[in-house]
């Protein structure tokens, strides 16, 4: 089956329970390749739980979460299919940015060459700081290093959890351009956020969840009024919990 026939992401009746807490409750949605989708909801709505199950870090209580039709943990060379950033600070502070990437390149075991590490460092503008320890990086530099790691295997899908957290306006602008460019080259993006203004201008579509349940799926080109209409829809759908 060609990749274009399969959704980049398939979430089907997904439920995730942590003890007594129902984090994700029967959520379903799909992502067509080449689209940028915002995964929106208030803090604690179940966004991160959904992404963790999708990326094979947590097990679903019920339902499916598939990447190009397969469970993540069944992917043979996941780095070439999916690039993901879940937390903005998943680095050892005593290691340099370049070494962090070299390690992941070796671990991915899919023929990522030494030169690719330099390429992704350059892509996110971290070449001058590559030799520094991550402990000395600013929040924005850490976000960029996370993105560089996600790009190592030249993936077709990017999954980013709150990628704009801690970025200054210039950083957010840079991220927006970066993601648009990735999608324009055929890539698919799923990015979560609880701050609507960060993503409203970037996404083609918004999947909104609240209290673990799917609240709405909205295509921005079908929405009269653009970003501001999205904000109105978001606020009415998420039961005022943003207040």
């Amino acid at each position: 089956m060609a990749a274009t026939d399969v959704d980049a992401v398939t979430i089907r009746s997904l439920t995730k329970r942590y003890g007594p807490i129902l984090a994700v409750d029967d959520v379903s949605f799909g992502l067509r390749p080449g689209t940028v989708t915002g995964f929106l909801g208030p803090n604690g709505a179940g966004k991160s739980s959904t992404l963790r199950v999708l990326l094979g870090l947590a097990a679903a209580t019920a339902g499916d979460a598939l990447v190009f039709g397969q469970p993540y943990r069944d992917l043979r060379a996941p780095a070439t299919v999916v690039g993901a950033v879940l937390e903005s600070d998943d680095f050892h502070p005593g290691r340099s940015g370049r070494d962090h990437l070299r390690i992941l390149a070796a671990s991915a075991d899919c023929g990522i060459e030494r030169g690719r590490v330099e390429e992704v460092l350059d892509l996110v503008g971290l070449t001058p700081a590559a030799q520094q320890r991550v402990g000395a990086y600013s929040q924005g530099m850490r976000q960029r290093l996370g993105l560089a790691a996600a790009m190592l295997g030249s993936p077709r899908l990017l999954v980013l959890d709150e990628p704009a957290n801690g970025l200054d306006p210039a950083g957010i602008h840079w991220l927006r351009t970066f993601l648009r460019d990735f999608a324009d080259h055929g890539g698919t993006v799923l990015l979560s956020s609880h701050v609507l203004s960060e993503v409203a201008q970037t996404v083609d579509r918004a999947v909104i969840i609240d209290h673990g349940r799917l609240a709405a799926t909205i295509r921005l080109d079908e929405l009269d009024g653009g970003p501001s209409a999205l904000e109105a829809a978001y606020l009415s759908l998420t039961s005022g919990s943003v207040l």
Partner: protein, 248 residues
């Protein structure tokens, strides 16, 4: 699997944790050997058994630091969150734990050799300088260095396995140190009725391997077999639980 071992090796060689642990261990060896070899009366230092106890500190410190090394190699990934990117590019989790255990075996061997070697050289030199005849035999010294280093290597894997089970760094360290420094000591006290099963403990097995077991302890070869089983068991348990549990 080879890729994971390579990646784990890179993880260790791009940090200062290994050299820092080695330096700490060597300083502790020097401290312990100097205090004993210089502080005890010469009459007490003459019997071979007591000389073996003085240089045997190398085995105990090698084992302890190897266990800590193995544990840190796993728990640091959870502490700093690098476990997430690690598992995103390599989702077969048991391989990560197995590779960490393998690297910890190598590191444990290096730590064990350094600790037992330094303790032996320093201990015998200090005794000679004080005019105490060296009564410990070459055979005993060889057993201490070979057996003690092999025990440290296996304890590296035990540390990695325990780290994968506990995940949280501080409780892992406290647990390993308390077990090795205190609990096993209680279990193998001479004339204690617990000794009959205490001698099968992983710390007691390590002591037996180094040839420092009294008659009531295991033979070195049996100690080796017992410790290999512990290392395999903890690595397998750590890998199994890592496969099963959600990653935080």
């Amino acid at each position: 699997m080879i890729a994971q071992i390579r990646a784990e090796w890179l993880k260790q060689t791009t940090l200062r944790t290994g050299p820092a642990l080695l330096g700490t261990m060597l300083a502790l060896v020097v401290l312990a050997v100097v205090l004993h070899a210089e502080g005890l009366p010469t009459g007490m230092l003459t019997p071979a058994h007591n000389q073996l106890m003085v240089i045997g500190v190398g085995e105990r410190l090698g084992v302890l630091l190897a266990a800590i090394y193995g544990a840190i190699s796993v728990t640091a990934e959870f502490r700093y969150g690098t476990i997430r990117p690690t598992l995103l590019v390599a989702p077969r989790r048991w391989r990560i734990i197995a590779a960490k255990a393998a690297i910890a075996v190598v590191a444990g061997l290096i730590l064990g050799l350094a600790a037992t070697g330094l303790a032996t050289v320093l201990g015998t030199s200090l005794l000679t300088a004080r005019g105490v005849p060296v009564t410990v035999t070459d055979e005993e010294v060889r057993a201490l260095i070979v057996g003690g280093s092999a025990a440290a290597a296996l304890w590296g894997a035990i540390g990695a396995g325990v780290g994968a089970l506990v995940r949280n760094q501080v409780p892992t360290m406290i647990g390993l140190a308390a077990w090795l420094l205190f609990i096993e000591g209680l279990l193998v006290e001479e004339a204690s009725s617990f000794l009959q099963f205490g001698k099968f403990g992983p710390g007691a097995a390590a002591t037996s391997m180094a040839g420092m077991g009294a008659d009531a302890m295991l033979a070195p070869a049996v100690g080796l077999l017992v410790l290999v089983l512990y290392a395999a068991l903890f690595t397998a348990l750590g890998a199994f639980m890592t496969e099963r549990r959600d990653v935080p």
